[in-house]
Symmetry: C2
Subunit: 175 residues, 2 copies
DNA sequence: GTCTATACTTAGATAGAC
DNA sequence: GTCTATCTAAGTATAGAC
């Protein structure tokens, strides 16, 4: 990818994460790069396209995970999801926090994050889940997502952290 | 409170929850009430004031919970937090999802939601926590917050649900 | 308490020069 | 590839009539 496009994505990822997608203007992004907003439109035809470029790879990874979910054991799925969360850490709040982003993604990507999350939850809950099983699945999902984010907020995700998170998630899942 | 003010708050709560604070305009709120935006400014002097009015009660409840956190047992704290989450359900995503709201609250309320969350996490982690204890505290917090929200998304929080959520959170906390 | 009209600002986006 | 200049739309907010 051209150097300028890469730099735009890096700045956009940081600003979207800090201020949200709706809360970040094209002028904000351009200012950080010491160019004018108009110059951005040479590289991307809209603000939504900048977001697309930023999310394409993480969303594809999420889709792959959701597709494999039903053939993995819960332990394998939780482990894979910790790693996904760690890699996509910077963009997850952008997707989950801003309703405008959710609507954009519905138009532009085949499967919504909500659908993919539901697939993971369903796999964690097992076949024909009752209400307690669904609650435990949501809880285990939450443990992985939030605990991983909490660790990454102040340091790298070390091997011991990963094991602790997975152990907690498995305790939640096994009633 | 005057009837119109109450109806403005009800509409604002619903729209902020669905579209986010930044993603909701005064015209959106006014339209739902079949009045003009200008009329809103008779009742509230700014959009931020509408948000303030909406969040004052939940934030005060959260502050009280955070203050009592250190003298409650973890089980009591988790139970109180389930109930708080259930009551504040509609506005929690408004606060946590939009960075602009976080900045507004920093200016307008004495203690930020982040600070209060940290107090709860610290109480759950116990004195002089090591890294695993902090991870477990974050995980238990996440279980209560997300599982309660998941249940409320499709039905009321029944007594059995509450017990299931608390049992899961306690399994996370006790290594 | 609500309206019309409007001021002011910011944002997304385009045209055309360089 | 980037700029200047500009358009259009939307949003917050106010003034003053009713």
């Amino acid at each position: 990818m051209a150097d300028t496009k890469q730099r735009i994505q890096d700045v956009a990822r940081e600003l979207f994460a800090r201020q949200g997608y709706t809360g970040t203007s094209m002028a904000d992004i351009a200012g950080r790069l010491s160019i004018t907003p108009a110059a951005l439109y040479y590289h991307y035809k809209s603000k939504a396209d900048v977001l697309d470029a930023l999310l394409a790879e993480p969303l594809a990874a999420y889709a792959e995970l959701a597709e494999r979910a039903s053939v993995l054991t819960p332990a394998e799925l939780l482990a894979a999801f910790v790693d996904f969360t760690a890699r996509a850490n910077a963009v997850i709040p952008v997707v989950t926090g801003d309703p405008a982003v959710r609507d954009l993604l519905d138009e532009r990507f085949p499967r919504s994050p909500k659908e993919m999350m539901d697939a993971v939850i369903a796999a964690l809950a097992g076949p024909d889940p009752d209400r307690p099983a669904l609650i435990r699945a949501h809880a285990a999902f939450a443990v992985v997502k939030e605990a991983t984010a909490a660790v990454l907020a102040e340091r790298g995700l070390e091997s011991a952290d990963r094991k602790e998170i997975l152990a907690a998630a498995r305790r939640v899942l096994d009633a």
